[in-house]
Symmetry: C2
Subunit: 369 residues, 2 copies
């Protein structure tokens, strides 16, 4: 058995643990009972995850003395809607959940976001535990407390900050995750290194494609460091406003790509990989990062089987999509640039500066998939 690792996330209001391990799903109920003091749990999941792990988590909760109510929501980001949240409210009321109950989100980022937003707003907020089952959700959704849903106009336009009581990461569940989804999650791990920790980035380069196998001895410490970095960034933001924006590295273009693809045929992590290489290249062009930065980033992402080429759409369509992105302050978008691998900062740029006329066409042909 791999040693259990704990990342403590320290926040002003309260802190909570991220517990990482291997084959630990049967123990989650006891820990939830201890962390929350709840007597009732709403276990929210999507069909494929529920089939595979729902009964185990439910049993673990019941063994710990909780009454368990199971809820299934449709899979896929297209179902991350207010309508689905409203259905959860109805279910919560029907089953008699109250303020002392806990919502357990079992699934990928979509489940965490949707069930998390329901938890954040039901009765003005009840307790939340995240049990992420994708690599992306493990490193991305675990820290920061961001929950929310999409509107037809764009992704995550409605939401809240709602810190979980506990994040429970069992890397064994990654074995049932398709290789493509594991790769997509690694994009966020690479991001953590690129914006914050050059040594960690080099460590990822050292491991390369081995990261795609589920080797707990390699993966648990890597995910631990990725979670730590996110926790450091989020904590730093309480002192230095805006540091947290660095986590959006690659995300400005990624959101535009996802919107233009209508959230189909591309995974969030894949869009982020494209967005990061694009942002690194813009950083070089703006004279902010040394030459070779983008190539090194692109090389690692390609070893992880991630796309890095900007999909071809009209430049006008990109500009419109960038303008709706919620990180803008008035007309400007706070765009995250690299100064070098391991160090990032934000720049207020107009959409037309992010995507200059020549660059749009040229850039689309430069990367490859």
């Amino acid at each position: 058995m791999t040693r259990r690792r704990v990342v403590q996330v320290d926040l002003a209001e309260r802190s909570y643990p991220i517990v990482l391990g291997h084959e630990t799903l049967d123990e989650v109920g006891a820990r939830i009972a201890r962390c929350t003091g709840s007597s009732q749990a709403a276990l929210v999941s999507v069909p494929p995850v529920n089939r595979r792990y729902g009964a185990r988590v439910a049993r673990s909760l019941r063994d710990a003395g909780l009454r368990v109510h199971r809820f299934e929501i449709p899979d896929g980001d297209a179902a991350k809607t207010l309508r689905q949240v409203a259905k959860l409210y109805d279910g919560f009321l029907e089953r008699g959940l109250d303020r002392s109950s806990v919502v357990v989100a079992l699934g990928g980022g979509m489940v965490g976001d949707l069930a998390g937003f329901a938890a954040a707003t039901f009765l003005r907020g009840i307790q939340l535990v995240q049990v992420p089952t994708t690599l992306l959700a493990m490193v991305d959704a675990g820290v920061g407390g961001k929950v929310g849903v999409n509107l037809k106009q764009g992704k995550n336009l409605v939401g809240a900050f709602h810190q979980p009581r506990l994040v429970w990461i069992d890397v064994a569940v990654l074995r049932s995750l398709p290789r493509r989804l594991r790769a997509a999650g690694l994009a966020e791990v690479v991001k953590a290194g690129a914006i914050w920790d050059a040594a960690f980035f080099a460590e990822l380069e050292g491991a390369g494609e081995k990261l795609l196998d589920v080797d707990p001895k390699l993966l648990v410490p890597i995910l631990e460091r990725a979670c730590q970095i996110k926790a450091e960034v989020v904590s730093a933001d309480e002192r230095e406003a805006g540091v947290r924006m660095l986590l959006n590295f690659g995300h400005t273009l990624a959101h535009a790509v996802e919107a233009l693809r209508r959230y189909r045929s591309i995974l969030h992590g894949e869009a982020v990989a494209i967005g990061m290489v694009f942002a690194a290249r813009r950083s070089e062009e703006l004279g902010l990062a040394p030459a070779g930065t983008a190539d090194r980033l692109q090389a690692l992402l390609e070893r992880l089987e991630l796309p890095t080429r900007v999909p071809r759409f009209e430049r006008r369509a990109y500009l419109r999509a960038l303008a709706v992105d919620k990180k803008k302050r008035d007309a400007h978008v706070r765009f995250v640039v690299l100064r070098e691998l391991g160090r990032a900062e934000t720049r207020p740029l107009l959409p037309a500066e992010i995507l200059p006329p020549a660059r749009g066409r040229q850039g689309a042909g430069r990367g490859r998939r």
Copy 2:
């Protein structure tokens, strides 16, 4: 001109002012500009309030340099729905509001709750300013940061805590408020005295029916003290969990009454008046409050032309309505009782203990309207 009064609400994250005065609506824009730093405001109101004050507030905001987008929502608690919130999201996006924008809620509690919930969740939370135009909203919605909407199953079942940047109270607007609505607002003022401040309660008894006139010299200090009490209670809750529950005095039964009346033909403050007398009488019956407490409370509320008699519905219907109330912890409801006028505490009671079989019928005949 009456002297301007300011109640500073101190909260861990940040503090904000409640500014009270008379004929001050034209100055609100300058203060909002200073408090928020926003360049765009979404002014949200309901038709009757909008017709009377919307243009003045919008002009004041424009004079202070803000771009103003006006939104009208249907009046009445029945429109406090997720659907109306979703419409506001659409409008906010269409007009290009961003994270630095401010939502200005101009109206009664319903507007503050609905627009406040939209502000709390749009782009994961943007700034909020409350400009309450009913007496109830001035003393109730100003402090505490509670925002939210109703579900068909009950009132305020969905929501968030979202502190405003500023609360702007101009008592002159109360002149256009029907006398019945002014009375309903005074129920919450009486509540503040009953749970927290015996001297203030006596002061209210001294003023009696004069409180129903809009005399700024009398009313501004009274509202100031009522806001202060709520601020004290909310701040105390950060040290002593549960103190805030005292603000629910009278509300357990009030919510049931409102639900059974389907939120029609009864105002929130009227339901609270009924609930407070009911709770005071239960406090006496349980041997917690001295004899005469309920009579004294009832007498003051009747001088303020408020109903105090429990509407006749089946006891079973009341029990069902009490069981859905969100303040319960498992089967128990945290019911607020008086120990004397000026001092309250909570008791965990079962719905059947709140409304014992005999009491239901007896109590319904005791009060009068």
